[in-house]
């Protein structure tokens, strides 16, 4: 699929109004091409989650326009063009793992047998097939988040929106999840927009890192990450990786200097 998966033009977002209004985003322009892995990176308050939520039609922009696959975010949502993964796994605790993964398919009214087949396939993708009959509380945090990823992929969407999905995980689990996500990304060819506040995470995963800065939230710069694909364990030990970390870090520091 060619063309832009996400196009953001002149988007601003103000919460509240008048003197109490807080400008979360100011004049954001961003185009994400199909097949890219783009991270939105920045400190808290830079509006990265707000931007993702606008793309995902959970928030409306105050001004500017957004298209997802050439449609309005609302239409893209209704067409199930994207899957979302939140910081919390947000599993339904009364459903077993398999039925959590099937939830989106159930909502869209897919045939039961097809639901189960697709659900199994997604669980295999995140390597949790043996936990299909477990309840969420029986799984570790990392495993729960993998279930959430499987659920987001259940529609086989062309686009995955991820809002700090590994933010609550310990460092070891986090690195393992990143490797797994890389594998899923290569396997499925899904476009990913990934919100994070971790510099190493953004550099390791992304083809492009969008560095954002706060008050008001804006794009401070965009760093192309041309590290070799596939990204593997050794990628984190390569000197080019450290060079990119430094570029991103400098950009973040430079943006903070602005009052």
């Amino acid at each position: 699929m060619a063309g832009s998966a996400v196009s953001v033009q002149g988007v601003s977002k103000t919460f509240g109004s008048g003197a109490d209004g807080v400008q979360a985003l100011s004049a954001i322009d961003l185009v994400v091409d199909a097949g890219e892995f783009v991270s939105l990176l920045g400190p808290s308050g830079c509006g990265k989650s707000t931007l993702l939520r606008i793309v995902g039609d959970l928030l409306a922009p105050t001004s500017g326009s957004v298209t997802v696959n050439g449609k309005s975010p609302a239409q893209a949502r209704l067409d199930r063009d994207y899957g979302m993964v939140f910081q919390a796994p947000t599993l339904l605790e009364w459903r077993k793992v398999a039925r959590n993964v099937q939830l989106p398919l159930e909502v869209m009214g897919m045939d039961r047998a097809e639901q189960e087949r697709r659900g199994r396939e997604m669980l295999e993708l995140v390597e949790l097939q043996q936990f299909a009959d477990h309840y969420p509380w029986q799984l570790s945090g990392g495993m729960q988040q993998r279930v959430a990823i499987a659920r987001a992929l259940a529609f086989r969407p062309g686009l995955l929106l991820m809002d700090e999905p590994f933010g609550a995980l310990d460092e070891m689990t986090r690195e393992r999840m990143q490797m797994e996500l890389m594998q899923i990304w290569r396997q499925t060819g899904t476009t990913v927009v990934f919100v994070t506040h971790s510099i190493p995470e953004a550099v390791f995963l992304s083809t492009r890192v969008v560095v954002m800065s706060p008050r008001p939230g804006r794009i401070a710069g965009v760093v192309e990450v041309d590290l070799a694909q596939p990204r593997v364990f050794e990628t984190r030990e390569a000197s080019q990786y450290f060079a990119k970390l430094n570029v991103v870090r400098e950009l973040l520091r430079g943006s903070e200097a602005v009052p």
Partner: protein, 254 residues
């Protein structure tokens, strides 16, 4: 096995209380019309078993009808008002106020409305008593939903009806069951106390108040025993359904 062992302390305590009761009555030679010994009550219960259980079942029927109606109506009302913030804000404080009022005080009025010996005058009181806790808890259960879950449902383009079915309703189940545990006890209280104000000849409340009036204390107590057993039974049924319907819930995890 371990579950049986869990019950052991309460069983021991129960036996201990009965034994103490028995000994105190005998040792101080307490008059039978004041407090009959457990052995005497057991004897009377055995003699009167047919009459007392029939009365118990009659009253249980009133309680269960009221419990069912109150739960259904309370849940329906909760669905209706949880959909509209305005209705919720208007109704909920009112419901909480009514819920803390002694509804059983209406029993004589209900007797006038539905007939003294009718099963419906008692079932009506029970219905009202059950309605409010069920409605209040259901409203909370349907509305206290984690924001993330609602966003999830939005992101998968779920209709409001699907969101109710797949998120709000299961979310309300634990709330419903905690209401039902209270309501099960309330239903028997409502039915029996209503019968104290006058009820059908074959009802448990009528039986207890009649026997107590005639100072046949052992017989009155045997009626109380049946009431206690029925209360425990109702509670067991509710707990059992809870386990069956919510194997995922914290309270049920093993």
């Amino acid at each position: 096995m371990s579950r049986l062992r869990g019950y052991l302390p309460s069983v021991l305590l129960f036996v201990l209380v009965l034994a103490t009761w028995e000994m105190v009555v005998r040792a101080f030679n307490i008059q039978r019309f004041l407090l009959p010994a457990p052995s005497v009550i057991a004897g009377t219960l055995r003699e009167q078993l047919g009459v007392v259980t029939a009365a118990g079942l009659y009253t249980l029927r009133e309680a269960v009808i009221g419990l069912g109606l109150g739960t259904i109506l309370g849940s329906l009302a909760a669905f209706a008002i949880s959909r509209w913030t305005l209705a919720r804000e208007g109704m909920l404080p009112f419901a909480i106020a009514v819920n803390s009022a002694p509804i059983v005080a209406l029993a004589p009025i209900a007797n006038q409305w539905f007939g003294l010996t009718s099963i419906w005058s008692k079932a009506a009181i029970v219905t009202v008593m059950v309605f409010f806790p069920v409605m209040i808890n259901m409203v909370r259960g349907l509305t206290d939903v984690e924001a993330g879950k609602l966003e999830l449902m939005r992101s998968v383009a779920a209709t409001p009806l699907r969101t109710i079915g797949k998120v709000r309703l299961p979310n309300a189940l634990p709330y419903l069951f905690s209401a039902l545990k209270v309501a099960a006890a309330l239903s028997l209280i409502g039915a029996i106390v209503s019968e104290y104000f006058g009820g059908a000849g074959g009802s448990l409340g009528y039986y207890i108040s009649q026997q107590a009036g005639l100072t046949r204390m052992a017989a009155a107590w045997s009626g109380v025993v049946v009431a206690v057993v029925m209360g425990a039974l109702l509670n067991l049924i509710v707990s059992w359904s809870e386990r069956r319907l919510m194997p995922w819930h914290v309270s049920v995890r093993t």
